[in-house]
Symmetry: C2
Subunit: 325 residues, 2 copies
């Protein structure tokens, strides 16, 4: 029996859908704009329509629908809580809506959890059973696979590595995201410029301080700007401490890092690796450990949504994915 899976990637801007065979090979794909500004009902109508575009003539070839959506969401109930980039969405029972429309089981996962499943099934962590995926972008999200099972927790809220609390100076508690995500890097750059730092970074944004973002900092660092290099190194050290936490708690075999900020490459990865070496309890935790860039591109959310459906929302061992191939 060759049961197919429909995958949907609901983003703030792009709406994608695809159909995969039982081995998670792509059969067909469509994309359109989300049209988030038109509100909830309009987006739901567009989502149903794009699912119909990838639906085969014989509906019963499809086993289930997997959906990657922006968090916060409850993966157990399929309810989207209130994503900042989907205006008008509050406690939307998306899973139930899609199930009722198509008469198929629907599984919903946040984008980082879904990306973890994607990297574990077809990306950098293929064949691994103990995986931590981290995305460093406008926020810092994560997905953890522990002995083949996606970690979601009692209410499906896990795992949020970006929100690990850290003390940054005597008594003041911040978080990994607030110190090391894209907006934090941009904020620190602006602050340094306002206090007269010697850097050519401002030229990259035509002198407009408010336009300075993490991408510009990354570009400046690649050009050898020492302030920009230091800012990425600080972000790397903070992310590295988060990884040490994950190593000590989960003892994974691979850390996969994706998201826009990770495109700065070794400028970020070298300080991450150094921090891990310096602060890990024992070399046993890093024996055989790989810290690698994400391997999948734009399709990561679609592949992950398909893997989510194939594992019944992460409740099944990813080993079952291999068995399907």
């Amino acid at each position: 029996m060759n049961k197919e899976i429909i995958a949907v990637d609901l983003g703030g801007t792009q709406l994608r859908a695809a159909r995969y065979d039982a081995g998670l090979n792509l059969l067909t794909r469509e994309h359109t704009l989300t049209g988030a500004d038109d509100g909830l009902e309009a987006v739901l109508a567009r989502m149903k329509a794009i699912i119909r575009l990838v639906m085969p003539a014989e509906h019963d070839r499809v086993e289930s629908i997997g959906i990657s959506a922006p968090g916060p969401l409850n993966s157990k109930t399929g309810v989207i809580v209130s994503p900042p980039n989907l205006p008008g969405w509050h406690d939307v029972p998306l899973g139930a809506i899609i199930e009722a429309e198509f008469g198929l089981p629907a599984y919903i996962g946040n984008d980082a959890n879904v990306a973890a499943l994607a990297e574990a099934s077809q990306g950098a962590a293929q064949g691994c059973r103990h995986v931590c995926y981290i995305t460093v972008s406008t926020g810092i999200g994560s997905g953890i696979i522990c002995d083949g099972m996606l970690v979601t927790g009692q209410a499906g809220l896990g795992s949020e590595l970006g929100h690990i609390p850290i003390i940054v100076e005597a008594g003041r508690v911040s978080s990994i995201e607030l110190e090391a995500a894209g907006p934090a890097i941009a904020r620190q750059a602006k602050q340094a410029l306002r206090t007269g730092a010697n850097t050519g970074m401002l030229d990259l944004v035509a002198g407009e301080l408010e336009q300075l973002d993490a991408r510009a900092v990354g570009k400046a660092a690649a050009n050898g700007d020492s302030l920009a290099i230091d800012l990425l190194a600080y972000a790397g050290r903070i992310i590295g401490l988060g990884i040490v936490t994950v190593l000590h708690l989960f003892n994974p075999q691979i850390i996969v890092i994706g998201g826009g900020v990770s495109k700065t490459g070794e400028l970020l990865f070298a300080p991450i690796r150094q921090t891990v070496r310096e602060h890990v309890l024992d070399s046993a935790f890093t024996a055989g450990l790989r810290i690698e860039a994400a391997a999948l591109g734009d399709d990561v959310a679609l592949v992950g949504a398909a893997a989510l459906a194939a594992t019944h929302g992460g409740d099944m061992d990813i080993r079952n994915l291999d068995r399907r191939f």
Copy 2:
């Protein structure tokens, strides 16, 4: 078929063994001294002897042997690495030794992981599928159960909450254990006394500063000593931040806290709860969450070792324990 389990608790001082029925009800129990100072071979001989004391006449009623041992150890291979309180033990393949002696599968777990299984099967977390157990004593250890499965990781090294790195002041990285375990509390008390703090704590140890330990600090705090209360509150805040990390990563339903320092009760638990409330990302992570004292006493390691064997070293869902009852 009523398969029985033999449990062993190998401690630095005490050596215990017991036999349980399939429902983890105690059938017989023995205890003796470990005799750790007599060296490896002597301890192994004593362990084999005490196992024979609890072995039934018909050997084939026994399904397996579970052993709680001091870490660090590799639960996958059954090798004890080099516990500080077992002199002469270095990379001892305890699992293989016991299996060869008795012809039964042997499962080995570190004391905190085993305690987590015990609390989840018969203690404060009974019936829970998402559990974090923390022991605060001379060290800080932890055991995490994620959707019914013990988290051990690729080399069986998880989970070490005590070794989560934390920045305590600008740039200096410490750990939860180094800031909040018993020796840290004692160290901070001595430091305060040396710099002239106003406290009656010293009277509790007959004026001998070097004798001051976490137990004395706990006693002083119970008597209303404000420095001692502040020291426990600091430990509680640090442990609380570790719990916030666990909440954000695992989204558990219960945190169980045991170990000697936890006997200080609300003096430690109140600042823990307050820190969790203050620093959790969203109240969804604490909805329905319980933070409770461990319920099992001295037998926690024996019950846990039995649960470890019953779940095949934590590789089986704890739900299977319930099915055995």
